[in-house]
Amino acid sequence: MSAAAGAAALSGESYLTDGFSLRSWLLTTDHKRIAILYLASITVFFFIGAAGAALVRYNLIVPEGLIKSAETYNRLFTMHGVVMVWFFLVPAVPVTLGNFIVPLMLGARDLAFPKLNLVSWYLFMLGGAIVLYSLFTGGVDTGWTFYTPLTTQYSKGHVVATVIGIFIAGFSSIATGLNFIVSIHRLRAPGMTWFRMPVFLWSLYATSVILVLATPVLAMTLVLLAFERIFHIGVFDPTLGGDPLLFQHLFWFYSHPAVYIMILPGFGIVSEIVPAFSRKPLFGYTFVVWASIGIAVISFLVWGHHMFVAGTSLFSALVFSILSYMVAVPSAIKVFNWIGTLHKGFIRFDAPMLYALGFIGLFTMGGLTGLFVAALAADVHLTQTYFVVAHFHYVMVGGMVSAFFAGLHYWWPKITGRHYPEMWGRAGALIIFIGFHLTFFPQFILGYLGMPRRYHSYAPEFQVLNVLSSAGTTILAAGYLLPLGYLTWSLLRGERAAPNPWDATGLEWQTPSPPPTENFVATPVVTEEPYAYPRPKPQATS
C-alpha cells in the first residue's frame, strides 16, 4: 500500500463519505456507489421472488393445494420465475460484486463508461417497476418461459407489460456486459497482462460475452411475442402457418446461455476464495481460464436440449445432445481444479470459504444431474418433472446463490469497511447448505416418480416428499434471512476492516477499505502472476 493511500485511509475519506445527499447517490457515476444501489435493488427483488417460492411450496403441502385457486398458483410461480431469473439471478453477481470489484481488480479508476453504468441501473429499475406493476395488478399465468401459442393467444393477464419490463431490463444487461468487456480490454493496469488477470475477471468477461450477444436475441423474440399478442398474428402461431417451436428455439438461445450468465460469475468468485483460504495458487489457472471462455462459446450451442420432447427433428436432437455433453467438460475441469487447489494447502474455514465449499458440493450435484437430462432417453422421462426443477435449482440457487454469498462475505470488508460477525457467517453457510438439500433433494425423487412441474394439485402418493421439500423451505428461508440480519447489523456495529483482512492477493486489496472515490491514489503496477501466495510455515499457523 502506498503512503498516500495509507493517508487517505487514516483520514477516513472513502467513496462512502464523498457526499451524503440522496442526489449524490442517485446521480453518481462511481461504479462502487452504483454497485451499492444495485445491491439494495437486487435484495428487494430476491425477497419478492423468494416470497413467491415460499407460497408455491406452501401450496404443495397437500395434494389438492392449499391455495384454493389454481390461477393464483400459476401466477405465483410465474412471478417467482420472472423475478428470480431476470431481476435476481442474471444480474446479481455482475451488477453488484462485478461493478464494485472489476475496476478495482483491474487497477482502474472506474469502468470505461460510467454514465452508461448509471443508465443501466435506471433501465433495470424501470424494467423492474413495470414487471412488478404488472405482477401485482394481476400478473401473468404463462410460466416464465412464455411458450406460444398459450401466451400469445390464450393466456389472460398482463403479458405485454411483463414482456416490456423484461425487454427494458435486457438493455440494462447489455449495457453492463458491454462496459465490462470494454473495460477489461482497455483499462487494465500497467503490467496486468491477460494471463495475470484473476479468474474472477475472466469469468465476468465470459459472462459479459453472453450478456451482450444473447440478450438481444431475447429482446427481439419478446418484440415478436408482443406483436403476436397484440395483433393476433405472427410467426409463432401454428394456426396461421407460423412455428411455435421457433419461439422455443429463440427463447432458449438466450435462456440456456443465461444459465451460464448466472453460474460463471460464481465460478469466478470461488476461484478467488479457494486459493485465498488455502494459501496456494489456483491449480491449473490456464485451464480454468480457457474453460471459462469455452463455456461462453459452447453454451450457445446446446439450447436444443430443452426441446428433446418438443417435436424437433431427430437429427437436431442428436446434435444438441452431444453438444450438451461438451459443455459439461469445462465445468468438470473447474471442479477438479478447485479440489486440486485444496491439496497441500493451509486451509482456513472462514465464512466465505464455507460458502465456497458449499458451492462446489451443490454445483457438482447440479452438474451431475445435468448429465441425466442431456442423455436423450433419460431426458424423455425426467424433463418437465420435478427432477428438472431440482436440477436447475441446484445449479442456480444452490450454486449461484451460495457463490454470491461467498463473494459478498469475502468482499464485504472491502465494500463496507466493516467485518461481518464471523460465527454468524459460518452458521448461515451451514444452515443454507442443509436447508437447500432438504428442500430440493426430495424433488429429484419426485421427478423420477413422475410428478410434473407447474402442477397446482397432485396425486396423493407424492405428498410425503412434497411435505419434506416444503419443510426444507422454512430452513432455507431462515438461512437467507440470517445474512440479511447480521450483514445489516455489521454496517453499523461491525469491526473496522483493514485494507487486506484476508491477506489475499489481487489489486482490490491494495487500497483502503472502503476504497477512496478514485480507487487508487497511485496507479498500481502488476509484477507477478495472480494468486502468488507465499508458503506459510506450518508451525506458525496454529
Binding site: 389454481a70 411458450y147 398459450l150 432417453a377 508451525q539
Partner: protein, 317 residues
Amino acid sequence: MNLWLTAATHNATQVDYLIFALVLISCAVLALVFGLMLLYMFKYRAGSDIDRGTLPRKTWRLEAAWTAATLVAFFGLFVWGAKLYLLLFQPPADALQIHVIGKQFMWKAEHDGGQREINAIHLPVGLDVQLVMTSEDVIHDFSVPAFRIKHDVLPGRYEALWFRVDIPGTYHLFCTQFCGVDHANMVGEIVAMPKADYQKWLARSDAGETLAAAGKTLFMRYGCSGCHGGDGAGANQSQSTVRAPSLAGLYGSPVTLADGRVVKADDRYLRDCILTPARQRVASYLPVMPSFAGEISEEELLKIIAYLKSLSQQEPS
C-alpha cells in the same frame, strides 16, 4: 411413501437401466469430489502441522487426463441415451393405432372402432400400440411416467409415440407442458388390460360418446369451466378470479334469482341461462356471464344440459 415407479413397458426398463447407470456414475463422482474435499479439508487445515512437502509442479498431463476421461465417459452416455431415444420414434409397422387429442384441459382418445373416451385410454397388454396425437389449442404434453415416455402435443400437426405394455394395471397420464389455468387437472389414466378383457371393453363401450360426455367436452370448449369450475364445481374451487355459481347438483333444485323469484332449475331454465344470462341472474353473483345466443347450436345445448344433469346424478344433494 413409495420410492419406486413401476416400469410397465420393456422400454421403461431399458430407460431405468440408463438412469441407474447415471446414478451410479454420479455417486462415484460425488464420492470422489466430497471424499477428496473432506480429506483435504481435514488433512490440510491451517492448524495441522502435517508435512506438505513441496508443491507439485504444474502439470498439463493431469488436466488432459481428466478432460479426456470425462469426454470418453460422456460420449458413451450420449450413444446409450441416443439409441434408446431413437427407438421411441421407430414404431413397428403393425402397431395398433389410437388417436389422441389434447385440449384445454382434457385428453380425448378415439379407438379404431369408434370408441371414444375422455381422460382415460384403455389398452391391451402385449401388443404394440401407437398413439397419434394432436392438439386443438395450445401445446400439451402426453406423459406416462410408468412407460417413461413423454412427448409434446402440438396444434396443427401429428406427433406419434409407441410402446408395448407388459404389466397390466392403471397408470397415471399427465399433461406436462404448462397449458393454462387447469393444467394440473389435465390428467387421466391409462388402463392396460389383457387382450381378452380389452376386446370385451371395446364391445361394451358404445361407439360414439354419450350425450353427457359430449356435453362435458362442450362445457370445456366454450369456456364454461373457466368460471364455473372444471367439474361445474363453482367458484370456490374454481380456478378463476371470476365468481360463478356452482353447477354441481344444480339440476332440479330451486334457485333464488336476484329479483327475489325462486325458480326450479329445469332444462328450460338452464337453456335460458346460457342464452340470456342477464335475465336470470342468480342472487349474490355479479352479472358477468356473456350470452351464448347464436354461438351454441341447439344440438350442443342439449348435450351441455345433459352434462349438467349428469352432475346432479353423481352428487345427490
